[in-house]
């Protein structure tokens, strides 16, 4: 279980508070108006932003003092998820060993991960020679290999077309399902939430609200969410 305990984040004039729990294995959509602090919330969980006060716990253990790489977290950013100068296989390999000194077994696992994500035969290509969808697959393959219990996604598929995005979300769902991962995904598209999430965390006016069941909250949105979704 992921717990945010009286979390207060402050960046200049911007403030965000969160006090919520996410059950293990849940798939959570984090939605809210732009500038509300969705990415900030993920940044704090991933360890890029130091909260002013409060604690973040995973499985009952506080992870706040840990470095990003030490946290039980894989993160996919909006962009720059791959190093342009490394091949697809190398980019995936970084998920296993940060020095890329891979043994045969590890190389085999990379092969498997690429097969799993539909990247067979593309290992030696560099990101520039891959399509947008393939680039997302490489990032997902790495997250799959790292197999951290908590996956954080900061709109990594925002630039993809609807069909491709659905494909990625379903691949993400499969991967997370196989590994039993908990997923927090920032999105501004309610369809993503419907398609993928079983819980929704609404971020608005400086507060991250506790998760509510997606089906329920999306069909019968509370005031803040209604404002965000507009007349639909």
């Amino acid at each position: 279980m992921l717990e945010l305990e009286d979390l207060q984040i402050r960046q200049g004039d911007f403030a965000l508070s969160a006090d919520l729990k996410v059950p293990a294995g849940a798939r959570v959509a984090v939605i809210g108006p732009s500038g509300s602090g969705k990415s900030t919330l993920l940044g704090a969980i991933a360890g890029f932003i130091v909260p002013e006060s409060g604690r973040i716990l995973w499985g009952g253990e506080p992870i706040t003092p840990l470095l990003p790489a030490e946290r039980p977290v894989s993160i996919l950013f909006q962009e720059n998820n791959l190093f342009p100068h490394l091949t697809a296989a190398q980019n995936i390999g970084l998920g296993l060993r940060a020095d890329l000194k891979l043994n045969a077994g590890e190389r085999d696992r990379i092969e498997q991960a690429m097969k799993r994500t539909g990247l067979e035969g593309l290992g030696l290509r560099r990101p520039a020679d891959l399509s947008g969808g393939q680039q997302s697959r490489v990032a997902l393959a790495r997250a799959f290999l790292r197999n951290k219990p908590l996956m954080l996604l900061d709109e990594p598929f925002a630039a993809l077309g609807p069909a491709l995005k659905r494909e990625m979300l379903s691949l993400l769902g499969e991967i997370a399902g196989e590994n039993g991962n908990t997923v927090l995904m920032v999105t501004h598209d309610p369809d993503d939430a419907r398609l993928f999430a079983d819980l929704v965390v609404m971020v608005d006016e400086g507060k991250a609200h506790p998760p509510a069941p997606a089906a329920e909250i999306l069909t019968n949105p509370p005031e803040a969410l209604r404002r965000y979704l507009g007349e639909q």
């Binding site: 890029f48 130091v50 790489a69 342009p84 100068h85």
Partner: protein, 525 residues
């Protein structure tokens, strides 16, 4: 902030070692000269005149360079034509041109017996003389116009294309575009460009010597030289060098305030689509500006090529030996430049907070811009003499001093590049646990390959053309190519000297081109 431990770990502190070495070599040598001084002559009225002239010529050189660079950069930014990229690269050439070679080229065009005066004479117009302040300014603009243009072109490239599209959809005239898009960019870019060129011209020595025309045009660096050589007054030389430092430090502090625009940026290849500048007059004006600038910057190079071409294959073997030595020195200087600048740039760029200590390190990296190479050379001699034979060390010392003098340029190229790489991919590297050596090897160094290549090319070319301290410690059989050119001239062999000058020109450019190209090839971005 998070990522509290430094991503590079202990490697980062190599940068402090580099900073310490710079401290030893720049203020350290000045202190050595001070300590060795027996007496100290007072700063006289003519020294104050030298300080005044130094400031005036540096300010004018910088002002003229940036003012001329504005129309040139604008014309280059909004026009696309065959060979544009090549022309921009070629117009950068004067910046890495050895001074002794450049002066020959400038005289061939602008001298009393030069092409320009021949043309004026044919038209029945009076001849012009460039000696004195005009000559100094002419040479400084020749050297620095390319740099200013480069900096401004980056400014233009940094204006988002959407802004220009927006402007044309709003029906902006060129005047409106200037007012709302270009002027704000220029306001941000010009002061920084001005200060960099001001600093470069501050310590000008060889140019002033060659074209200054007489005692009216005396810079501080020249006064330092005279204090050493004519008055044997180490104390006064050190005093003047300290004054030069002070002036430079003030200028550098102002320069740093005005932003740290990169010397190497992307976007030089991009033409900005402009829908406003399609009028015939603006097109003709742009063409005229580009052609005039190309003529100004390239005809002196052509003149050097013409005057040297005949003799280049008949050069004596000893000149070719000195070519080998110069190449060795240039490669050594390049290696040293990278060995000093990379750790320094990494230390500066990976600091997440701008602490006073980091600002100090940054300042140390720029120290040599205001330093006197003469004082560094003499100070090194004083320090080394009791320990080792400075003459035997002449070539490595030349390489070392060259590296120190290239350091500010290297830092201006590398630091922003590392900052950009960290901004884009730092979080990814952090989340993957890429720290220390792995971060360097797998992330930072591959990301900044192109700027490293550019830095190496710059350092190699600047070192290749520098007469430097070798003249202070020379031994037979240790002459570098620039020194050999002086020797040929001292032996009345003007034609051989011209051929050797062409050789130096070719080698400087070849080194720059090779390194720069090497950095770009296969550098996927």
């Amino acid at each position: 902030m998070a990522g509290r431990t430094q991503p590079l770990g202990a490697i980062r502190w190599l940068g402090s070692g580099a900073a310490a070495l710079v401290l030893a070599l720049v203020p350290g040598t000045l202190a050595a000269v001070f300590l060795r001084a027996e007496s100290t002559g007072a700063i006289t009225a003519s020294d104050w005149a030298a300080i005044r002239f130094t400031l005036i010529q540096a300010a004018l050189s910088a002002a003229i360079s940036v003012v001329l660079a504005v129309p040139l950069a604008r014309a280059l930014a909004r026009r696309s034509f065959a060979g544009r990229r090549f022309l921009i690269a070629l117009m950068g050439a004067p910046f890495i041109l050895p001074v002794i070679v450049a002066v020959l080229g400038l005289l061939a065009i602008f001298g009393r017996n030069g092409l320009l005066n021949a043309a004026l004479g044919a038209l029945g117009l009076p001849a012009i003389s460039i000696y004195g302040l005009p000559g100094v300014l002419l040479a400084h603009v020749f050297f620095n116009l390319p740099l200013a243009t480069r900096l401004l072109l980056q400014g233009w490239a940094a204006i988002p294309a959407e802004h220009f599209r927006l402007a044309s959809s709003l029906g902006f005239t060129p005047r409106h575009i200037f007012r709302w898009l270009e002027l704000p960019m220029l306001r941000a870019t010009l002061p920084g460009a001005f200060m960099v060129i001001f600093l470069i011209c501050l310590t000008s020595f060889a140019v002033v010597l060659a074209l200054g025309g007489g005692p009216r045009a005396t810079t501080i660096e020249l006064a330092i030289y005279q204090a050493f050589r004519f008055e044997f007054d180490l104390g006064k030389a050190a005093k003047l060098a300290a004054l030069q430092f002070l002036v430079g430090a003030i200028a550098a502090a102002i320069a740093l305030r005005f932003g740290r625009n990169a010397l190497f940026g992307s976007g030089l290849d991009r033409t900005i689509e402009r829908h406003d500048a399609t009028g015939r007059i603006t097109m003709l004006a742009d063409a005229a500006i580009i052609i005039t600038a190309a003529g100004f910057l390239l005809t002196p190079l052509l003149a050097i090529a013409v005057s040297g071409l005949q003799g280049i294959f008949a050069l004596p073997a000893t000149v070719w030996h000195s070519v080998m030595r110069s190449l060795l020195v240039a490669l050594g200087a390049t290696a040293l430049t990278l060995a000093l600048s990379l750790p320094l740039a990494l230390l500066i760029a990976t600091s997440r907070a701008h602490t006073p200590a980091i600002s100090a390190v940054e300042a140390i990296g720029y120290l040599s811009l205001a330093a006197s190479p003469l004082v560094i050379g003499t100070g090194l001699f004083i320090i080394l003499f009791p320990l080792a034979d400075p003459v035997a060390l002449a070539l490595p010392l030349t390489a070392l001093v060259n590296a120190i003098m290239s350091l500010p340029f290297a830092l201006r190229v590398l630091t922003p590049a590392i900052r950009d790489a960290e901004a884009a991919f730092g979080p990814l590297a952090d989340s993957l646990g890429l720290f220390g050596r792995d971060r360097l090897r797998l992330f930072l160094l591959p990301r900044i390959r192109a700027p490293i290549g550019f830095t190496a090319g710059l350092a190699a070319a600047l070192s290749m053309g520098d007469l430097g301290v070798i003249a202070l410690f020379s031994a037979p059989g240790s002459a570098t190519l620039p020194l050999q050119i002086y020797r040929l001239r001292a032996a009345y062999r003007v034609e051989d000297a011209a051929a050797a000058a062409l050789l130096l020109l070719i080698l400087s450019f070849a080194l720059f081109w090779l390194f720069d190209k090497g950095g770009r090839t296969n550098a996927r971005t």
